[in-house]
Symmetry: C2
Subunit: 152 residues, 2 copies
């Protein structure tokens, strides 16, 4: 059972010390024990928990979702079913986003190709069909972070 200070811990898991403090503040991590000088002493278990958080973020889970996953890890009994649901939901999101992006890719390619020949650059209209003043039927924007979550 070793422990390390915040700077070292941060380095181990590839995050900033400030991020670790932030996670403690918002409750994603429990309050770390302090050493005699009042400094945080991270255990191996805590480093592992941080690594889990990092992996989850790499998989596009938001902190709120990660919080849920962490809670499931803390209460194994019914964890499996719920964890499956979270992963399933995330998969559905990803698949949907893939659809949207494929469509967007195709649209952009088309615009770029048309730009080569057209007299009017279609990119400046974002409309591949200059003669039809109809906006392209692009899927509504993926809802960005809520803040501008003008749910687009």
């Amino acid at each position: 059972m070793s422990s390390c200070r915040i700077g070292e811990a941060a380095q181990h898991v590839g995050m900033s010390a400030d991020t670790l403090r932030y996670y403690e503040r918002i409750g994603l991590m429990r309050r770390a024990l302090r050493d005699g000088g009042g400094r945080r002493a991270y255990t191996d278990a805590e480093l592992e928990r941080l690594r889990f958080i990092k992996r989850a973020q790499a998989m596009d889970f938001k902190l709120a979702e990660i919080r849920q996953l962490l809670e499931l890890r803390d209460h194994p009994p019914s964890a499996r079913v719920e964890a499956r649901r979270l992963a399933h939901d995330k998969l559905a999101e990803v698949i949907e986003r893939l659809r949207t992006l494929r469509h967007l890719r195709d649209e952009l390619r088309l615009l770029l190709n048309l730009c080569l020949g057209a007299e009017q650059c279609p990119i400046l209209e974002l409309n591949p069909h200059p003669l039809k003043r109809v906006a392209p039927a692009i899927r509504k924007r993926q809802p960005a972070a809520r803040h501008r979550h003008a749910a687009r």
Copy 2:
């Protein structure tokens, strides 16, 4: 040359009146003319500009990028080359993001399948290889909006 007030304009283009005010405030739209009562009077050209903004957003362009596109529209001479570059850059982004998401989709599918048979739910480790304590080589998260852009 007709004109309409902000509420009507907002409805026409599918945005909120507040968003239109915001766009004027940040300079994405020029200051609209005011009627005798001090209220904004949107021209058809301005409605069209707003529609362009909306189309660009649907194509994952950020407001800063949209600003650039709008400027190109205002100065046609060298617009084409620059517009091509912006669209090309966006296409590259989209393609890269598609790669990342495909990988993530596969990873999630694997985890969900493994979850069915494993004694330990691999989702709660976010690691398809329980015997190998190595984090999955997931691509670094797509940089979200800068704010949390914790470049993920």
